[in-house]
Each structure stands twice: as structure tokens, then as C-alpha cells.
């Protein structure tokens, strides 16, 4: 078990870490480290890509939370058979590759596409299509990572005991106070997991910005791919990867330490 973990997971990470300190554009680890890639990252504007990636990931995570909470609440506490229908509907979208689904949105939103085309045919009005801007990228992220927020939230909300909510109401709490005092803290494990999943995935996402966003914004994942392929600069790509890994790793550890994950795995609140 340990050996498998070492070879399949830790070894590649280690290789990337060592590559990130190698001189520019080398393809072997047998060089003296000079950390030049990191200098490049901080001087050549790559930080902007990092900021864009995390900024959009944050925006999409917040929006996902706001959108998914009522739905997850309904599915955990209110709907009975209908909840299963929604679950299947959401899961089925995952059967189709993300790129193809995003192309579907491109065809829907582009000038001459489903929406603009119909509008023009029926009313004669026209607009430039909804593609190639930052909001549509965030929309794409929200769309793509919807299940990753929804299902953990359902789990989290299902852990809130009904009688605790009722007791809070009985003791005088309004709906908002119940949400804030009972629902939020007691479903925290689900919220943290859902937020981490969608944030981490969105921060490393590339297809949304490429397909929906055109070249409006270059995200960090895009930069990494370019560095490894067209740029032929493995050390730069590795350095960017390491920065991404460090930020995401720190966030994950911080988040996971804040909640009791045993609970969501079926452990008892003792």
C-alpha cells in the first residue's frame, strides 16, 4: 500500500518539486538548482493568472453555495421521491464529458447561437452573444462544479437534527436565526467539503476559460499547460504547479482541520 502510494502519488510530486528549482528549459534533474523559474513567476505577470484563477474560483464557490443551499435543503429535508429525481438529473450530466457540455453552452450563448439566433429571427433585435467575458467563465465554473457542491451540502444538511431546528424555533429563533445558529454550524462539514471541492476544482479549471472565455483571461492551469507544451519550459511549469499545489494544499488542510469529518462519514457526534 505504502509503495503504491509512493510511486503513484508522491514520486511525481517530488519530481515536479525538483524540476521547479532547475534552470530554465532543461529536461533533466541533473542540474544545479537556481530557482530561476520562481523569479520568472513573480516578474513575468504569472501572478495575475493565479489571482484570476483563485478569484473566479472564489466567486463561483460563493455562488454555488448560495444556489445549492436551498436545493440541498429541500433534498435533505423536504422532498421525498422528487429528491431522487433531481439526484439522477444532476448525475446524468456527469455522463457527458465536460468539454462537450461546455461546447453546448458555446452553441447556446454565441452570436448566431441558440439564444441570439432565435431572438434575431423572432424580433429582429440582436446582441453580441454572451461569450468571451469573465462572468460567463464564472457561470461555466458554477455549471461544471454544481454536483460537487450540491451533494456534500445535502450530506451536511441531512446531519442537522430536526429536533434541534424545532427546539431553536420553540425557543424563539426566527428562520434566519435557525439558519445562522443551527443549520450553518451543524452542517459545517458538508459546507467545508463542498466548498473545498468546488473551489479546488475551479481553481485548477481551464476548459471554461478557454471555451467560454476565449482569451479574455488566461488562468493558471492554462499557463501551466502552455509552459509544459508550447513553451517547452518544464521548470517554469513545475514552479507554477508547485505554487498552485501549495496554496490549495494549505487551504484544504485549514478547512479540513476546522470540521469533524468523521461526522459526514457516518461517525457519531459524541
Amino acid at each position: 500500500m505504502g509503495v503504491v502510494l509512493l510511486i503513484s502519488f508522491l514520486a511525481p510530486l517530488l519530481v515536479i518539486a525538483v524540476f521547479s528549482v532547475m534552470p530554465q528549459k532543461v529536461f533533466s534533474l541533473l542540474h544545479l538548482p537556481d530557482f530561476s523559474s520562481y523569479k520568472l513567476v513573480f516578474t513575468q505577470g504569472y501572478i495575475k493568472s493565479v489571482v484570476w484563477s483563485f478569484g473566479m474560483a472564489l466567486a463561483s464557490t460563493v455562488m454555488l453555495f448560495v444556489i445549492c443551499w436551498p436545493l440541498a435543503f429541500g433534498m435533505a429535508k423536504v422532498f421525498k421521491g422528487f429528491g431522487l429525481f433531481i439526484t439522477i438529473a444532476v448525475v446524468v450530466t456527469l455522463f457527458v464529458s465536460e468539454n462537450i457540455r461546455l461546447f453546448g453552452w458555446v452553441l447556446t450563448l454565441m452570436k448566431g447561437g441558440l439564444i441570439e439566433g432565435h431572438l434575431r429571427a423572432w424580433t429582429g433585435l440582436t446582441f453580441e452573444g454572451a461569450l468571451y467575458n469573465v462572468p460567463v467563465i464564472v457561470f461555466g465554473l458554477v455549471y461544471a462544479y454544481f454536483p460537487f457542491m450540491l451533494f456534500p451540502l445535502i450530506q451536511g444538511i441531512a446531519m442537522v437534527p430536526d429536533d434541534a431546528r424545532q427546539a431553536a424555533a420553540d425557543l424563539g429563533a426566527s428562520r434566519w436565526q435557525i439558519f445562522y445558529e443551527v443549520d450553518l454550524p451543524l452542517s459545517a462539514p458538508g459546507i467545508v467539503i463542498g466548498s473545498l471541492l468546488s473551489f479546488v476544482l475551479a481553481a485548477g479549471a481551464m476548459a471554461e476559460s478557454k471555451l467560454l472565455g476565449g482569451q479574455t483571461v488566461i488562468v493558471i492551469a492554462d499557463e501551466i499547460e502552455t509552459a509544459f507544451t508550447y513553451g517547452q519550459n518544464w521548470p517554469l511549469g513545475s514552479a507554477l504547479s508547485i505554487i498552485l499545489i501549495l496554496i490549495i494544499g494549505a487551504l484544504s488542510i485549514f478547512g479540513i482541520n476546522r470540521v469533524n469529518l468523521d461526522l459526514i462519514m457516518g461517525g457519531r457526534r459524541s
Binding site: P161, D163, A164, Q166, A167, A168, A169, D170, L171, G172, A173, S174, Q177, E181, V182, P185, L186, R269, S270
Partner: protein
């Protein structure tokens, strides 16, 4: 003058689809009384209490709190409070935060809240050091007290209890029952308690309401319900009892239809008479039945064979098989134990003042 009722129910009904959980309930609860609603599971008592605190909606009927209609009022606006069966403490909050919860909602100052929480900890015999404790570190009995303190912090007009003691072990439950009664006297609040345990009801309540499949069978003080139940159901629910189907003979004397009862000295004015052909149920509690010696007499006499003997601690219970095969229960205090042994023939007797006639249609 009897006090004004603090809570009045008129025609309260609750339907779950086809099922009638509560059937046209009328009830008046007096200010400051300790009313216990007793009933077997499924009798609708939990549904009733949940409607009264506002967690469940009623299908039909009216509820007055003093002179205000409250049946449409949401739970969080009602000045009543409930201690849940599960207690429903907030597991993510400390004992102190749990107790202060209703005060926090009212935006009281933290210092005032803490002072009140300490008062309540004292009142419920919990050490002040518990203020910081986590709920998960508290024992079952301590959690009961915290739940009670939280409900009292709310300062409700009526405090409802939904079988909060049912999960505790016997000794702890007995202690808390007495404490609860004590607390009722000290706070002077109106307590409405539901339980399926008759003993719990007897120890604590001013009045007991017996509930059966969605309606009240009888509402009275404990002794009245014990000694003069209005139905077989209530009689059997209130502990061990001997019930005999009887009817009146030509002269109005009672004749057992299953067990051969000899009526002796029942006078013509006694309540222990029935018109010819009328039928009823004769009830006598096991502790009122005596073993008769050969020459002594009683108002009612039954013969049989001693079949079994059970030690109940302070009392001993005997099972006697009457001559036609039916069983009777007799209970004696330990010091009055019956000297005979299993298999002995016995004569049992009781007097009219300890018997009760249940007239049921």
C-alpha cells in the same frame, strides 16, 4: 373561585391523511397546575403537545392562551417552550451557550445572560463549572438538567415536557421526577408533561389526563383516576387491577358472569347494585383484596387456589386462580405476607368501599 385557564383547547383535531390522530380535543389547563397527559404510544399525546407548542399544525380547532388565539401563531412567537424527548440540545454549543440561547436571541447583554445562566445552573443543582462544559461531556441526567435550564431561561408561560425522562435509568428517573415536582412548586409555572409511565404521572401531577387513540378518556386528580376510573381502559392503564364482568340479579345483587362472586353484606343503598339484567364491570385493586380466614366475612368473596407469588420489594404479589380458571391479583405489604404456600386453597374477599363499578356502554 377556580383560576382562569391559561390554555384552552376547543375541538382540536389533527388528521394525517385518513388517520385521525386527534379527535375533537377539548381541554382547559389552569394557571400554575402540573397536568400530565398519559397514554400508550400512538395515542396522540406527542402530536397534541407538538401542536400546542406550534411545531405541528392542527387540522381543525381553536387554542386560546389566556384570551389570545394562538393556533395560527408560529412556534417562535409563542410564549411557550418544550423540553424534547431527545432533549434537542445543540451539540455544537457549550452548556452555557445552550442555556443562554433564548436570551441571546432576545439580544440580552452577555453579562446578564451569564448571570441568568449561573442562576439556572444553581437552581438545577449543576455546578457553575458546567458553564464551559461541552454537551458531549455531560451525562444523561446532566443533559436533562441543561435542557430544563434552557427551557426555563426562555421563561415560558407554559412549560411542556415530551417524555424527557424516558431514556434514563430507574433511580435517576425517580430522583428527577421529584426534583421536577419541586421545581414546579418553586417556579409556580404551568407544567404540562406527557409520558406513557403512569408512575411518573402519579408522582408529579396535580391532574392526570388519560389519552387513548386521539381523545381524552378521563381527566382528574391522580387518586380519582386510580380509584374511580371511568372505563376498563383507564383501570387497566393505571396499574394492576382485577376486573370482573357482573350483572344484576333479581334482587339487584351483583353476580359475576365469569367468576363466581358471592355478594354478602351489600346494602340496598349501596352503589354496588345493578338493576336486573344490567351489566357492568366490577373493579378492585390488588391491594384491597384480602385473604379471608374460614370464619371472617367480606362484602365480596371469591374462592380459588394460590398459584404464584412474586416479591416486589416492599410488597408481595399473589396470583390466584379462581375456581373457573380466571386469575386474580392480590398484593400485600411485606409485613402482611400471606403465610400459606403455593397450591393452597384460599378465600379472597374485599369490601364495597374499595370496589368500583365501571359503567360502560
Amino acid at each position: 373561585m377556580s383560576p382562569e385557564p391559561i390554555l384552552r383547547l376547543e375541538g382540536v383535531s389533527k388528521y394525517f391523511g385518513e388517520f385521525t390522530a386527534l379527535d375533537n380535543i377539548n381541554l382547559e389547563i389552569d394557571e400554575g397546575e402540573f397536568l400530565t397527559i398519559v397514554g400508550p404510544s400512538g395515542s396522540g399525546k406527542t402530536t397534541l403537545i407538538r401542536i400546542l407548542v406550534g411545531i405541528e399544525e392542527l387540522s381543525k380547532g381553536k387554542i386560546w392562551l389566556r384570551d389570545k388565539r394562538i393556533e395560527e401563531m408560529p412556534a417562535n412567537l409563542r410564549p411557550t417552550c418544550m423540553v424534547f424527548q431527545s432533549l434537542a440540545l445543540f451539540p455544537h454549543r457549550s452548556v452555557g451557550e445552550n442555556i443562554e440561547f433564548p436570551l441571546k436571541l432576545r439580544k440580552q447583554r452577555p453579562d446578564d445572560r451569564k448571570a441568568r445562566a449561573f442562576e439556572l445552573l444553581d437552581l438545577l443543582h449543576l455546578p457553575r463549572s458546567f458553564y464551559q462544559k461541552r454537551i458531549s461531556e455531560c451525562s444523561g441526567g446532566e443533559r436533562q438538567r441543561v435542557a430544563l435550564a434552557r427551557a426555563l431561561a426562555f421563561d415560558p408561560e407554559i412549560l411542556f415536557f415530551d417524555e424527557p425522562l424516558s431514556a434514563l435509568d430507574f433511580r435517576l428517573r425517580k430522583n428527577l421526577e421529584k426534583e421536577l415536582k419541586d421545581l414546579h412548586q418553586r417556579t409556580g409555572k404551568t407544567f404540562v408533561y406527557i409520558t406513557h409511565s403512569l408512575e411518573e404521572a402519579m408522582v408529579m401531577s396535580d391532574r392526570i389526563a388519560i389519552m387513548r387513540s386521539g381523545h381524552f378518556e378521563q381527566i382528574a386528580v391522580a387518586d380519582e383516576i386510580y380509584a374511580r376510573p371511568i372505563s376498563r381502559f383507564v383501570a387497566e392503564f393505571m396499574g394492576e387491577v382485577n376486573l370482573f364482568s357482573v350483572k344484576g340479579d333479581v334482587s339487584g345483587n351483583l353476580v359475576g358472569t365469569e367468576i363466581d362472586i358471592q355478594t354478602g353484606r351489600v346494602g340496598p343503598d349501596s352503589a354496588m347494585r345493578l338493576g336486573q339484567g344490567a351489566s357492568a364491570t366490577l373493579m378492585v385493586r390488588p391491594e384491597s383484596v384480602h385473604f379471608l380466614s374460614e370464619d371472617s366475612a367480606a362484602d365480596f368473596v371469591v374462592g380459588g387456589v394460590l398459584q404464584a407469588e412474586y416479591a416486589l420489594g416492599s410488597r408481595t404479589q399473589y396470583k390466584i386462580q379462581a375456581d373457573n380458571g380466571d386469575e386474580l391479583a392480590v398484593e400485600k405489604l411485606r409485613e402482611d405476607r400471606f403465610p400459606g404456600k403455593i397450591g393452597d386453597r384460599v378465600r379472597l374477599g374485599w369490601n364495597a368501599e374499595y370496589a368500583h363499578m365501571i359503567m360502560e356502554e
